[in-house]
Each structure stands twice: as C-alpha cells, then as structure tokens.
Subunit: 102 residues, 2 copies
C-alpha cells in the first residue's frame, strides 16, 4: 500500500467539479461554456469560478468570439493541461490497481 | 464521455488526505493513529480532523485502549466504510477506462 499516490494527485484537477470539466475537455478539441454548463448541470457562477482556476493554472485556454451576433466562449485543454490530466489519470489507475489487483 | 461519473464520487472519501487514510485502512485490519500519522506524514491535528470526519460519516471505527501503560488509538474501516470505498474505487476505475480504453 502506497498512500503517497493519493497525496500526489494534482489538487487543482482533483476537485470533483474541475475533474468533470477536465474529463469533458480531454475528450474534445473544444467545448463552449454553454455545452459544459448544460452537460455538468452547473450554475454559471460555479462553472466560471472553476474555469478561471483551471485557466490560472495554465490547464485550460478560453477564447471569446461571436457566433450569430452572440458572444461565444469556448474552452479547450492547453498542452500542459492535457499532460497534467494524463498524469492524473495515470495516478488514478495506480490507485485502482492497488485496490483491485488483476 | 460521462462527466456524471466524476460528480458521483463520494465527497468525504474524495478529499486527498482522507483518500490516503481510507486507502491505508482498506489494506489492513486496523492501524494505530501513530502508524497512520507516520505513513502519511500528517500533523496530529490534521489527521485527527480527517479521522473525525470519517468517523462521523460512519466509515471509520476508532477504539481507544492502553498498551504498555500508554494510550493507544486504533482505526479500522467499518463495513459501510469498506463498501463505500469499494464503490469509490469502482468509479475511479470507470473514469480511468473512459480515458484509457484498453
């Protein structure tokens, strides 16, 4: 048993809401703020706060543009974000293996 | 991609320090407070707070006794704690599989 594994988990990604956001972004090139909000059933304020935290960490890039004369905010994982998420998932995999050896 | 998986993770277990404690207890019949503290490199106060939270949730049983005239506090997973931890690990496994399909 190596409890260090859990303690190594990236604190920014580990929060459940941000983990859900990173999961969705890892599976797409980019997603709009609205797509994220609807899929995650989060309030605007909650999603905005999480996205800002991920942006400040350099994990998520946010671009603002217009579509049909309406503001459109899209989010995508940065290269460091994709790398950090892959490391996070690798750690989860090791934790699972400790408890469910094949 | 199913972001619901992340959002289903048990909030009490998901906190990194508590996840580390639950991981250690899942692998043992019981552990003393001192063994946990030394393995996890936590302060007494931090470990006490986490153990209390897990105890209040009904996941961890704490017993106090004496060994060699010294107080001895031991912790173990309750049956509901073991069940909740198994469910948590199963969810982690599904999250990993979403991102690392075999």
């Amino acid at each position: 048993m190596n409890p260090e594994l859990s303690l190594q988990l990236d604190r920014v990604i580990h929060e459940k809401g941000r983990l859900a956001i990173m999961s969705m972004l890892a599976a797409s090139a980019e997603l709009s703020f609205t797509e994220l909000r609807n899929a995650l059933n989060m309030t605007d304020g909650n999603l905005t706060t999480h996205i800002r935290t991920l942006q400040e960490e350099g994990f998520v890039a946010v671009s603002k543009s217009y579509a049909n004369h309406r503001p459109l905010t899209t989010c995508s994982l940065s290269a460091p974000g994709r790398q950090a998420f892959a490391s996070y998932i690798n750690l989860l995999e090791q934790i699972v293996r400790q408890h469910k050896p094949e």
